[in-house]
């Protein structure tokens, strides 16, 4: 079954089986995208886990679980960052806390981007979504995504210059 197919009208056993396939198909990319957004594997695991729980609980009512899951993960990542920003309001950047050391420059550079730019970059260049899909996921006008990506690419070029030259 296509993991994104409609689950409406299934028995509980069928739901469990369909959800399991959906989970296995989506888990890795969601955890890794969330880690790129949050700079923390632990926080990403929690955000994605909670999003999957929400999807499972609403399985019968969700027509397109794939986009629903992505939106839920994005929202939870945004919440995590807000929580952090309140706990340390004077700290602008997020410090990568449990990611591989060799990737710290990338995570630090991503962390310095505004959330929408960071999300657009991850969704475009890691998840592989188009600008229209990204706009839908972020709940913004499609015309916003292109400029966000361009500004983010400019900033990342500065932040990641040493790596780019390798």
């Amino acid at each position: 079954m296509d993991p994104a197919a409609s689950p409406v009208g299934m028995s509980m056993d069928e739901v469990g089986a369909a959800f399991s396939r959906f989970y296995e198909a989506e888990l890795a990319v969601q955890v890794r995208a969330a880690t790129l957004l949050l700079g923390s594997m632990a926080a990403a695991q929690d955000a994605v886990h909670d999003a999957f729980v929400e999807v499972y609980r609403r399985w019968h009512r969700i027509e397109a679980p794939g986009p629903y899951l992505r939106q839920s993960v994005l929202n939870r990542c945004r919440d995590v960052l807000r929580h952090r920003s309140v706990e340390a309001r004077h700290q602008r950047s997020l410090l990568a806390d449990d990611v591989p050391a060799q990737d710290a420059p990338l995570f630090d550079a991503l962390a310095r981007l505004p959330f929408n730019q960071r999300a657009a970059i991850v969704l475009r260049f890691y998840v592989g979504l188009g600008e229209t899909e990204i706009a839908h996921e972020l709940g913004c006008a499609p015309g916003s995504v292109g400029p966000w990506i361009r500004r983010a690419l400019d900033r990342l070029a500065v932040e990641l210059h040493p790596q780019e030259e390798r």
Binding site: E87, Q91, A157, E164
Partner: protein, 329 residues
């Protein structure tokens, strides 16, 4: 501009080093338990976190509660209260603690980013008034600009109308209208916030957004009449201490200190000769948080925050009493 293929490679390489652990069994088990117990009590979230983004603190013009509403009939109407004449613009003043309490260490000053909302904003607050406590508060905000939080959530349908809903497992819901009028209603998730939104009317009169509410939820009163919020300044001054676990923030765009936090009960306390509003709660993640807001002068609002349970109400009051108003750096 970084090359897109280079960036794609960097992201995929880094992602490939991120381990992924399946928790499928836990999800299926947890969800089954919830299905069997749909009324299970959920832990409260810390609404101030949401408020920090949503700026859901609303203000009351006087120190005491203003309970003007009933359960039927127009709940409130009329011109919203403006920012007090002569009040400094948000972002132009700052908190300072020249003589901090003994328990405060590593005091430093910094700035934080604001500017999460634009345009005109008028807000009102509802709550169940119980002595010095405002229980289960709800906020209603009309706005004509942009708000970062409005893009969150998922589209849902209530009473035949489409909303965007952001639900916190801790029991707080942020509900946004889709289209006009632009409304944000926040409050406990078990309250029909959509009904409140649909009962709210917005008028644009003399350059101000006015709110009128047809009816109130049972037991609720208007605790904050509709009030115009000031500019959400792009930068705010912060005093931080104790490794970032304690801080004082400037929140003057909220005009007045009564925190009508969605979901958390707030209690009136004394801050020197002023009145402050205190709450403490646990976040969705189980972390502890407490906040005390007060107004040292009309139009200036400060908030002391602690994420360290060792420094709760008494210490925050002490910190607030030691805080002075200075020009922003």
């Amino acid at each position: 501009m970084i090359d897109e293929q280079v960036l794609t490679g960097l992201l995929h390489d880094a992602a490939g080093r991120i381990p992924v652990e399946s928790q499928l069994d836990a999800i299926l088990t947890d969800a089954a338990v919830v299905r069997l117990r749909p009324e299970v009590a959920r832990a409260r979230c810390w609404p101030r976190y949401a408020l920090a983004a949503a700026a859901v603190l609303v203000a009351v013009a006087a120190i005491g509660l203003v309970a003007t509403g009933g359960s039927t009939g127009p709940a409130f109407a009329g011109a919203p209260n403006p920012v007090p004449a002569g009040a400094p613009r948000p972002g132009t003043i700052a908190p300072a603690v020249p003589d901090p309490p003994a328990w405060v260490r590593d005091l430093s000053t910094a700035t934080r980013e604001g500017g999460t909302r634009t345009g005109r904003w008028t807000r009102a607050g509802l709550g169940i008034v119980d002595g010095d406590v405002i229980r289960r508060p709800i906020t209603i905000a009309a706005f004509d600009g942009a708000f970062e939080g409005a893009t969150n959530g998922v589209e849902v349908e209530h009473h035949g109308h489409t909303f965007r809903e952001l639900h916190h497992d801790g029991g707080t819901t942020f509900l946004f209208t889709v289209g006009e009028p632009k409304l944000m209603v926040t409050g406990p998730s078990d309250v029909d916030l959509a009904a409140i939104a649909l009962a709210t009317h917005v008028l644009d009169v003399d350059g101000q957004l006015q709110l009128t509410l047809d009816r109130l939820p049972r037991g609720y009163s208007v605790v904050v009449p509709p009030q115009v919020l000031a500019e959400d300044a792009a930068r705010r001054s912060v005093v931080a201490a104790n490794g970032g676990k304690v801080g004082v923030h400037e929140e003057s765009d909220l005009v007045d200190p009564t925190p009508i936090a969605s979901g958390a009960d707030v209690r009136r306390v004394r801050v020197g000769t002023k009145v402050g509003w205190y709450f403490q709660a646990r976040t969705d993640e189980g972390a502890w948080i407490a906040a005390l807001s007060w107004s040292p002068r009309p139009g200036i609002v400060f908030e002391a925050v602690s994420t360290d349970p060792a420094h709760a109400e008494r210490d925050l009051v002490e910190l607030a009493e030691a805080t002075e108003v200075v020009p922003a750096p």
